[in-house]
Symmetry: C2
Subunit: 437 residues, 2 copies
């Protein structure tokens, strides 16, 4: 929240002798205003409902360690060496098997392994987006994707969602309105399953409709699916890519089904797009880590990994239940929230007149943290809402956190009732903090 991280004065600018030399795109790279606050929020006494970190406590670390010992001893000269820019062939085969669980038929040659799906986002943006190009994205949308689009100087236009995900009529209306101004969006970015941050999924009956609208408008669909296997009833939505292999680029990751610290994700893309993704990745990192890839590949081969995913699902369901139960028990009137059937997040809308960014310092003082809704919009809106994550803290901590949050909202409501609406600052044009807080 300090001055030197505001949009007008990028961090360090007053002392930086290189200021005049930066590229145009660097001007859109600024630290989030909420970053400083999150440094405070990381103290142990604060319940963080802000982070998107998976809970790894359930991983069998001893047997993983033994697996790594053997892998290094027997295949170390491969694991520690440079690999191909596209990624390990065996792992790409296994990735196709993983995607088959969501109805996708794909060839390993069309898969590119990336440094988490964030790098896949970056590569797609890099090969498609010129400055001022338009990207359609859900309202709200994943903070890390918005940061990537901003880094390529693209303009994001948000499309409304409801409890069934992206609204097809809103997509049609947005496209028509843009077309009337001569604007043809390049991409439609969507998280169809257990959405980050809204916690909703795109209804089955909307999926073909959304694909059809995008295809007719000549807009490539970018399907980002980190949470697809984390549906609490164990069922899996059919991927958009399962219905359309030609106009969908699909992004996946092992960050939520195994471990984010290995940074292994992927893109599945039509052939010509895939070729360019590989060239862009080589220019960016030469090749993804052979070591990380072999760890994931060995893990998929040697362990009952789907059983592990099942135990993750059960753990997250217990935490989701704890959050929904305590929200229902303690939230003041006028507060609303989504009821996720998978994934990590609840999207909470505040009583009228309250602003989630103005509320945050009070919440942190009350020892609870969340991400203000503004982080998930490119246009500074979203102040009426916030994202609550239930993935990491224990159920007991979640209940404590929700109680503290309810107290902060109640206190802020009383203040607003006395003095009028809490000050909504200027729209927040700064890039949000990464989603790892």
């Amino acid at each position: 929240m300090s001055q030197e991280t505001s949009a007008e004065q990028p961090a360090g600018s007053r002392l930086d002798p290189h200021l005049a030399r930066y590229a145009q795109r660097t001007r859109s790279m600024t630290a989030s205003e909420i970053r400083a606050l999150f440094a405070v929020a990381s103290r142990p006494e604060v319940v963080s409902l802000a982070g998107g970190m998976p809970n790894l406590a359930a991983l069998p670390l001893d047997s993983l360690g033994e697996m790594l010992r053997e892998m290094t001893a027997t295949r170390g000269t491969v694991a520690l060496q440079y690999g191909s820019g596209q990624g390990d062939e065996r792992l790409r085969e296994q990735i196709c098997e993983v995607m088959a669980l969501e109805g996708i038929t794909a060839h390993p040659d069309d898969v590119v392994v990336t440094v988490g799906s964030q790098q896949a986002l970056d590569l797609v943006a890099r090969i498609f987006l010129d400055p001022a190009d338009v990207v359609l994205a859900e309202a709200p949308s994943y903070v890390g994707a918005l940061g990537t689009f901003a880094a390529y100087q693209a303009r994001v236009v948000h499309v409304a969602m409801d409890a069934d995900g992206l609204v097809p009529d809103a997509l049609r209306a947005t496209l028509a309105s843009l077309a009337a101004r001569g604007v043809h969006p390049k991409l439609l970015y969507t998280v169809p399953n257990h959405h980050n941050p809204m916690g909703v999924s795109l209804a089955a009956e909307r999926r073909l409709e959304v694909l059809d609208i995008a295809d007719r408008a000549g807009v490539l669909v970018l399907e980002d699916n980190p949470y697809g296997l984390l549906g609490f009833d164990g069922s899996t939505h059919r991927a958009l890519r399962a219905e359309d292999a030609r106009n969908v680029v699909y992004l996946g990751t092992f960050s939520k089904t195994f471990a984010p610290g290995l940074r292994v994700g992927w893109a599945l893309a039509p052939h010509g797009v895939r070729e360019r993704l590989v060239l862009a990745s080589e220019a960016s990192i030469l090749c993804p880590s052979a070591f990380s890839q072999l760890v994931v590949s060995t893990y998929l081969d040697r362990t009952p990994w789907l059983e592990q995913v099942k135990s993750f699902r059960e753990m997250y369901r217990e935490r989701r239940d704890a959050m929904l139960e305590s929200l229902a028990a303690v939230m003041p009137p006028g507060t609303r929230w989504t009821r996720p059937e998978g994934g990590f997040y609840v999207w909470l809308t505040l009583p009228d007149g309250l602003d989630s960014k103005a509320l945050l310092p009070r919440a942190v003082s009350a020892r609870v943290a969340y991400v203000p809704g503004t982080a998930f919009y490119a246009d500074g809106t979203g102040g009426e809402a916030m994202r609550l994550s239930y993935c990491f803290p224990s159920p007991e901590r979640i209940r404590d956190g929700v109680h503290r949050l309810a107290g902060a909202i109640q206190a802020e409501t009383e203040l607003v009732d006395t003095f009028g609406a809490s000050g909504r600052g200027a729209p927040d044009a700064t890039a949000p903090a990464p989603d790892t807080v």
Copy 2:
């Protein structure tokens, strides 16, 4: 070498329905013409003097495996989790200790951990380079850096080298000539120690002069130093960054001193630049692998890693000797080459009239491969030379490879003597293959 990878027809373009949608920058991303040939060259019967892969046979894999087992069992929930965008704090301290070996005084806060130093190159290019910006680079220059600069649509202007590295007078003349045309380069990219591909080092007496010229011209120096600890007599050059903390961005890596498969490199930058590098990295990959970083950090802490570097040096020296001895024994008159005192590479200049790209198919038929000199120039020149790597094959294989190459050169010389100069094709405008072949 097939039609669909030429500059005019990027790979897959004729079948790619998305062709009209790509960004401007994507037009400069094309597969190397020599890529197809290297697929052939990777056959076991071919001696590859083309690759820049370090030789990992000397690593103690059993004890590394045991180290990894323990690390995973005891620190797995940290190693497998998301980490900071800037990189692990303890590792950044250790990186400062490594750089101190080259005379650098630095604070861990000014270090950014990256996915190999290639990502550091990418991030520096990303924050500094607008399309058409000019980068000064040695003639010849590292193929991966040229690929990165091309990906940001920068123009590379080469500056002459000799046996003592970059020539200060040539740098002055190039700057003057550019200034006369109103062109102010953004960066001077240099590999001062055991240069890739030339195998020479910047003489000590030139270092302050080069820094002074760059500083006066307002050009930021980008010092890329993968081979600094691989001097065969065990001595270490003082880094450029050791003399100038304000106008140098220093890039380092563990790829050559430990293992490239972990993809751990770094940038050391002035404070304002460092802040922007972190923001750019977060938009690109969120954070580097916590797992890879902890492996490197534990390795540096727990093993006599400088002893390991010493054994790498001795292994590479033996291979360098094998190459220089057999070059002296068998190369036809008119062939010249550099005599590296460290690193991986010899730069060989062919007898007059011969072209290294035209020669390559003949060499591969004779079961030896190299990288044509054109790969190391942004302007298609360099056909008179080639890079020979001695890092990976055994001394015996190196001698075999040099004998085969001498035979190919001899045969081509006879052809040229009979029919005139071998056909030099049009300047090679395609991006080179990554340096991991």
